[in-house]
């Protein structure tokens, strides 16, 4: 049975998100427009990380590097060179793919944790580059005046317009994730995540598949970075710092690794909970991290990976369906 449908958990989360977006558009709430746009942008980057981590089982910290390429690429192409903002969304993604191939080809030949360590160094290096390469990135002050997207000359610079665009892009990212995870490529990624030796003994071209996962992650990271720059009309090193790396991992782990709608739920948690706890003042971060700790303790597979099987009645007689096991195979 090749599963091609969305599960009830994913459908619930995505349905709730759609209702939230529509309700926000109808009410015009400035806070929720801002929060939901930010959630969508975070989620797009996290869907990319979810491909790497959740499907292919590769720990990569390079996502903020790709976001940096997208953000700074969009800023330079549009704010400095005056190109159409759509080029700012599309062209940096090609640059991110080139970087993914350049780092992936040598690093994926490494075994163990070396790939993760190398991408961590890359992420920290990218942040330092953003601060130090003043001519390229504007240094600590960043680049201001990044124009918003426009369709046929009609600016999408209104918060509502950007909310719609960001959720459409997120829907596309989720569609790519859904199709890939249900395809033979997704199954090969799962084999790779379970055991690279098993994958290769099945004839799976491991290097090519790891590279493909990194390329998909790079495109999504870059697009998220570009959208972030266009949304805030400004880009600075802060948006690709260590906090962002941690946030992206939190989003994937909180939502549930490998789950379709996990990044949406995780992004909502990371974007909304600290705000909701702001009344606690200086205790806000303490309570947030205690919540995270409890989350990891009781829901280690993420919010969408919770197990409800204990709620089901136990079978008492043979009329209840139980997993079949043939005698010969015991």
């Amino acid at each position: 049975m090749i599963r091609r449908t969305i599960g009830i958990r994913d459908a619930s989360v995505l349905g709730a998100a759609l209702v939230a977006v529509i309700a926000t558009l109808l009410t015009g709430s400035a806070y929720w427009t801002y929060a939901l746009t930010l959630i969508a942008i975070y989620a797009i980057a996290a869907v990319g990380l979810n491909v790497m981590l959740g499907l292919a089982g590769q720990v990569s910290f390079a996502q903020t590097t790709f976001m940096g390429i997208g953000g700074y690429g969009a800023a330079r192409l549009t704010a400095t060179l005056g190109w159409d903002p759509w080029w700012g969304l599309v062209l940096p993604a090609f640059g991110a793919v080139a970087v993914a191939v350049l780092i992936g080809l040598p690093l994926f030949r490494l075994r163990g944790h070396y790939f993760a360590m190398a991408t961590f160094a890359l992420a920290l290096g990218t942040n330092s580059l953003a601060v130090g390469a003043v001519l390229l990135t504007g240094g600590s002050t960043g680049i201001a005046g990044v124009p918003p997207l426009a369709i046929a000359g009609l600016s999408l610079g209104t918060p509502q317009g950007f909310l719609i665009v960001s959720w459409i892009v997120l829907a596309l990212a989720l569609a790519v994730f859904f199709v890939l995870s249900r395809s033979h490529i997704g199954r090969a990624w799962r084999a790779l995540a379970t055991s690279p030796d098993v994958a290769v003994s099945l004839g799976v071209p491991v290097l090519r598949l790891k590279l493909l996962a990194l390329i998909v992650a790079a495109v999504m990271g870059s697009v998220a970075g570009s959208l972030y720059a266009q949304f805030s009309s400004f880009v600075a090193p802060d948006f690709i710092n260590l906090v962002m790396i941690i946030n992206l991992f939190l989003i994937v782990f909180i939502g549930g690794r490998g789950m379709l709608s996990g990044p949406v739920l995780g992004a909502a948690f990371v974007a909304l909970i600290p705000q909701a706890l702001s009344f606690l003042g200086e205790w806000q971060n303490v309570v947030f991290f205690v919540l995270l700790l409890l989350f990891m303790l009781f829901l280690p597979r993420g919010a969408l990976g919770f197990d409800l099987s204990w709620l089901r009645p136990r079978p008492r007689d043979s009329s209840h369906p139980v997993p079949e096991r043939t005698e010969a195979a015991r």
Partner: protein, 250 residues
């Protein structure tokens, strides 16, 4: 399975060596298998059995020697390309993929070697299910719910979907109940009778109730005994396993 006319040995291994750092896992192991033959590789833990089949599958780098398949040198061919060339390994521990159904596991084995047609896949799947009837009712089950024996059958079936000319099996009976071992070995015997060339790695020779074409005993990374068309007795095996000198080829 594969029934090409033999124009030389299907597998020719010359002085194969495998090192893990300073540890020599295999020392100049040579072995020749004709098309349709089955070799049984015996030895205790750490004898080098798994290293041998993993080296043939390309999973571990070799430190010396050559591997020829149908006359072609495949020593430096990457592991995933060896599968397409006809070398399939059923790894120790089965390697079934939790979260995927039996059908999806089989599909993975089919697609990984370039299988495209759904019709051909169904036909091939039927062939595997005829060989392992225990899997038939479990096609749509998550493979993590299978018993050990069913998982092993699935792992073998998945490898067979690549239509191998050489099937390598690393301790398929490990951790299985006696009934499941009989079922797995019965299927392997059928495959051997159909002409599939195999190398079967086992620790316990007594669980196999037929005589393979070639039986080898490995100790400390060296083949210390090769016997054609006969099985060593349990006394001989005890001698060989425990290390008393009994070198020679029969």
């Amino acid at each position: 399975m594969s029934a090409r006319p033999a124009t030389g040995p299907l597998l020719d291994v010359e002085r194969l060596g495998v090192d893990y750092g300073r540890v020599r896992a295999l020392r100049q192991v040579s072995l020749t298998l004709e098309e349709g033959e089955m070799a049984l590789l015996l030895g205790t833990n750490g004898a080098g059995k798994s290293s041998f089949v993993e080296a043939l599958a390309g999973l571990v780098p070799v430190s010396g020697g050559r591997v020829h398949l149908r006359g072609a040198d495949i020593t430096s061919v990457p592991a995933h390309r060896r599968v397409r060339r006809g070398v399939s390994l059923v790894p120790e521990g089965r390697g079934t993929l939790p979260g995927l159904t039996v059908a999806e596991n089989l599909d993975l084995g089919w697609r990984a070697v370039g299988g495209r047609s759904r019709g051909d896949f169904r036909q091939e799947r039927e062939r595997i299910l005829r060989l392992f009837p225990a899997l038939e009712k479990r096609v749509d089950s998550d493979c993590s719910t299978l018993s050990g024996g069913e998982m092993q059958m699935l792992a073998i079936g998945r490898a067979l979907l690549a239509r191998p000319s050489l099937l390598l099996l690393d301790e398929p009976s490990l951790g299985l109940a006696p009934k499941a071992i009989v079922a797995v070995h019965e299927a392997l015997r059928t495959l051997s009778e159909e002409g599939l060339t195999m190398i079967l790695v086992e620790q316990k020779a007594l669980t196999i109730d037929w005589t393979p074409h070639l039986t080898c005993v490995l100790r400390h990374g060296e083949i210390i005994m090769q016997a054609r068309d006969r099985r060593p007795t349990s006394e001989q095996l005890a001698e060989l396993y425990l290390g008393r000198p009994s070198k020679g080829t029969t």
